[in-house]
């Protein structure tokens, strides 16, 4: 089966009101090219589930988002994502704020077909007080109360990987695949952008196959977009673009998202990459030191 498709074909599969999972973490390995294609579309009323960065900020600022399920939205070196902050402070979006680990449990519950996974995480905090949908239950085995973290079932997930084959075998060779395997497993459909498209034989080496974190049956479509994570990082291929994130953050104070999109988005990923200096410049961005 050949799962290759274009970013436009991915967005054509999405519907208003869908619950969308987005892989990556803060400014790290975000499927930004697919997010940009959503920004070019008339898609709206999305519920976004993510360990959020500029992906969430841009979608909120562009009016694509009805609700965000989040534990944080951050650019790391710029702790507060500027447009998510604006969206919250203007009351423009609904939120379900959870703990980072609760989100992981919710994705696992969805992946495993469970209604919920019990946890003590959230007890005693406003996570529970402000989330009437989060039920607190008793256990048949003890006298404590437990948060029943509900399955976070996703209509679709968007993920960026280092490399994939046309059949949907995806490899994340960077040091951390974050929760991307669970985003892939929790979703009805998973669309992946990849920096490199390879032959299946690339994975026959067990050291390569070890870095394939979910089965191809959990990949719906593959879009070959070198540099597609920019301005986020795709370690080890390239780091995140600090000057770009600074300009993005500055735009929130001066000009807003329209000015930012006007300057960078373009009508296609090719135009976007021209606007940010080209693929070679992206691939030349050094990795962050933590």
């Amino acid at each position: 089966m050949d799962k290759r498709m274009t970013a436009a074909e991915v967005v054509a599969q999405l519907r208003d009101g869908m619950t969308l999972g987005i892989g990556g973490w803060g400014p790290r390995r975000k499927p930004m090219a697919l997010v940009r294609e959503i920004l070019r579309s008339d898609l709206r009323d999305l519920t976004v589930v993510a360990y959020g960065g500029a992906d969430v900020g841009m979608l909120c600022a562009a009016g694509k988002v009805k609700k965000v399920v989040f534990a944080f939205v951050s650019l790391d070196f710029i702790p507060l994502e500027p447009y998510f902050r604006q969206a919250r402070q203007s009351g423009a979006i609904e939120v379900m704020e959870v703990d980072e680990g609760m989100m992981l449990l919710g994705l696992r519950a969805a992946a495993w077909g469970l209604p919920f996974i019990p946890t003590q995480v959230g007890l005693g905090t406003d996570i529970i007080a402000h989330n009437p949908d989060l039920k607190v239950i008793d256990s048949p085995y003890d006298d404590k109360e437990w948060v029943a973290m509900p399955a976070l079932r996703l209509d679709a997930s968007l993920i960026h990987v280092d490399r994939a084959d046309a059949r949907g075998v995806c490899q994340i060779a960077g040091p951390d695949h974050y929760m991307d395997d669970w985003f892939a497993r929790a979703a009805q459909q998973t669309f992946v952008s990849c920096d490199e498209l390879v032959e299946t034989s690339y994975f026959h080496n067990p050291e390569q196959a070890r870095l394939v974190h979910w089965e191809r049956s959990d990949t719906t479509g593959v879009v070959h977009i070198p540099g597609g994570a920019h301005p986020s990082s795709c370690n080890p291929l390239y780091g995140f673009d600090v000057p770009h994130f600074k300009a993005y953050t500055a735009s929130a104070k001066d000009g807003g998202i329209d000015a930012y999109l006007q300057q960078y988005l373009g009508a296609s990923e090719e135009e976007y990459q021209q606007n940010v200096g080209g693929l070679d410049a992206i691939r030349a961005i050094e990795l962050p030191t933590y």
Binding site: P79, L80, Q89, D99
Partner: protein
């Protein structure tokens, strides 16, 4: 080597005081978020708590802490175990961890806030980081707080605008739990060291930094601080500790963590009204 230094910055004093929070922890993951907590955990691991575990803040457990900032090309991180973010939660939920973080608000119950200030939850006046891992950390394992600017906006009156982490609040105690299950180990600020060991888990003064008075601490804390009869002065770093800190922080990032990077030995009554940088929580 173990002689007390006479010249040291307030940041260095705080690093040593923060390191003390990890004393006796044994083999747990020491997570210090921010420059001073990270240097503190690293110092503890390099000296009196060699069994502590530490990550590279990315995806690997290290046998030896990494120095902060850009490292020379020939630096080989002492990786020992893959520790991606998904696995961090296996560790968190096991309780074998001690995190040191800097929340924006800490109320009299030790509840903290990293999420939002003012307004309504649907429309906060100031959106901050979000709950991050605070709810899970606070109910799963010991946690300490570092506050680079001790004032009554951080240590505020009343209850946190948003309670991101559980504290010693009887009104919020979950069924089947005891307040003693909660372990807020240590609170280190630019003025003093505290814990919640006062009567009924009241915040308690453990030591005052050189030149700081009890009155200063109380004035800058929005609720009563329990003051024991004798309050020692926070011990000065030793020359050995200062050299280890210098090696762990070759680019002197510690000099930029407290406003104006004041000396640790201050003329009585004077204190920088530092404003804590946003973020740094985690």
């Amino acid at each position: 080597m173990n002689t007390a230094a006479t010249e040291y910055s307030l940041a260095e004093l705080c690093i040593v005081a923060c390191a003390e929070a990890f004393r006796g922890d044994g083999e747990v993951l020491a997570t210090g978020i921010g420059v001073i907590p990270r240097l503190a955990a690293s110092l503890a691991m390099k000296t009196f708590e060699p069994d502590l575990m530490m990550t590279d803040s990315e995806a690997w457990m290290l046998s030896e802490p990494n120095p902060l900032g850009r490292r020379s090309a020939d630096h080989v991180p002492a990786r020992e175990t893959w520790m991606g973010f998904s696995r961090i939660f296996d560790n968190v939920w096991s309780g074998k961890r001690h995190a040191m973080l800097g929340p924006t608000q800490i109320d009299r119950f030790g509840q903290s806030n990293t999420s939002a200030l003012g307004g309504t939850y649907r429309q906060p006046k100031v959106m901050m980081l979000g709950a991050r891992g605070f709810p899970g950390n606070s109910i799963s394992h010991p946690n300490s707080f570092f506050v680079p600017a001790h004032n009554n906006r951080v240590f505020m009156e009343g209850e946190c605008d948003f309670v991101s982490s559980i504290g010693y609040n009887p009104a919020r105690l979950p069924k089947g739990h005891s307040l003693d299950d909660i372990d807020i180990r240590r609170v280190i600020t630019d003025l003093c060291v505290m814990d919640f060991g006062g009567p009924g888990h009241q915040i308690r003064l453990l030591s005052l930094h050189p030149g700081v008075t009890v009155e200063q601490v109380q004035e800058n804390t929005g609720y009563p601080v329990h003051v024991p009869n004798a309050v020692p002065t926070t011990p000065a770093p030793t020359t050995e500790q200062l050299s280890i800190i210098a090696a762990l922080d070759p680019h002197n990032q510690r000099a930029h963590q407290i406003k104006d990077n004041p000396s640790g030995v201050r003329p009585s009554g004077v204190r920088p009204s530092g404003v804590r940088p946003p973020g740094g929580a985690g």
